[in-house]
Subunit: 122 residues, 3 copies
């Protein structure tokens, strides 16, 4: 999401402050890390190892839940991330380290997702 | 915590800005996810699988620690969450997705817990 | 980082608002927890158990990645933390619970690391 975020900050004209990006979903999350396909594959493999698909989950059972999506593992994997990313804005620009990117991680769909951006500053 | 948070924001009269809710504890954490009892049970089971109670922890040993509570697993489980939640406020209202709730997760007690709310905006 | 952060806030003269501390790195992270050596050892052991060094990672393979550092596990461990910490400032002081410290966790180096501090308030 880095280019979209940088563009929005430029348009909105905040010089110094905070930019917050917020996922409006419980199974689509935001993180700051290196955006490299090989690493993203490794992260996906890790998520499958640490939150196993082959266990029983109450959230997936009609006995305990009216959720028809059977997506307990998506919710639990989302715990390891965050629903939001907060970043500083300085001199009108997003402040990020050389290898840092703002990444939206889809843990369930894919489907259309909504993010909210809140900027505050002077 | 969503209703309490929404009520406080209404009373404090911030139109647009950020609301931060902060746990003052190292073993009681905040998260944004779906508040469904079956899912919360699944999350509890996951936390017991990934941070096992049947291992030895230095924090629980009088040799290495003066902690008398033996709560290393509570601390380690708290790593998977966050001590705070930041949310946008727009038009005087908390901005949350349809299935998102602000949840306080007690990982140790239960005991009385203190949260701080900081609002900033115009 | 608590003393350095408290000192900076005192110097910068913000009375009430937010303080954000931001790691500029993908393998050095920030967290709020109890700063006790025994617990930090337990956390290190947990990270080695949950993100295993003895597996193959694409990020470490010249076939998939130009990364020469072989640090996939450092990146994946960083997911369990956050690149930033946000804290309230009230009456000119950092607001933290009795056992809470702001901790910089080096997951890769050690090497020189850069943090950015952004304060906003009145």
């Amino acid at each position: 999401m880095t280019p979209q975020l940088a563009e929005s900050i430029g348009k909105l004209g905040v010089g110094n402050g905070f930019a917050g990006l917020f996922s409006q979903h419980t199974t689509a999350v935001l993180l700051v890390n290196e955006f490299q396909p090989a690493l993203l594959d490794d992260i996906g493999d890790f998520l499958k190892r640490v939150v196993r698909d082959d266990l029983e989950y109450k959230h997936n059972s009609p006995k305990w839940s009216d959720c028809e999506r059977g997506n307990a593992t998506s919710h639990i994997r989302s715990l390891l991330f965050n629903n939001s990313v907060l970043l500083p804005v300085a001199d009108g620009k997003l402040v990020l380290g050389r290898f840092q990117s703002v990444i939206l991680a889809e843990l369930d769909g894919p489907r259309e997702r909504t993010l909210k951006l809140q900027l505050m500053g002077v």
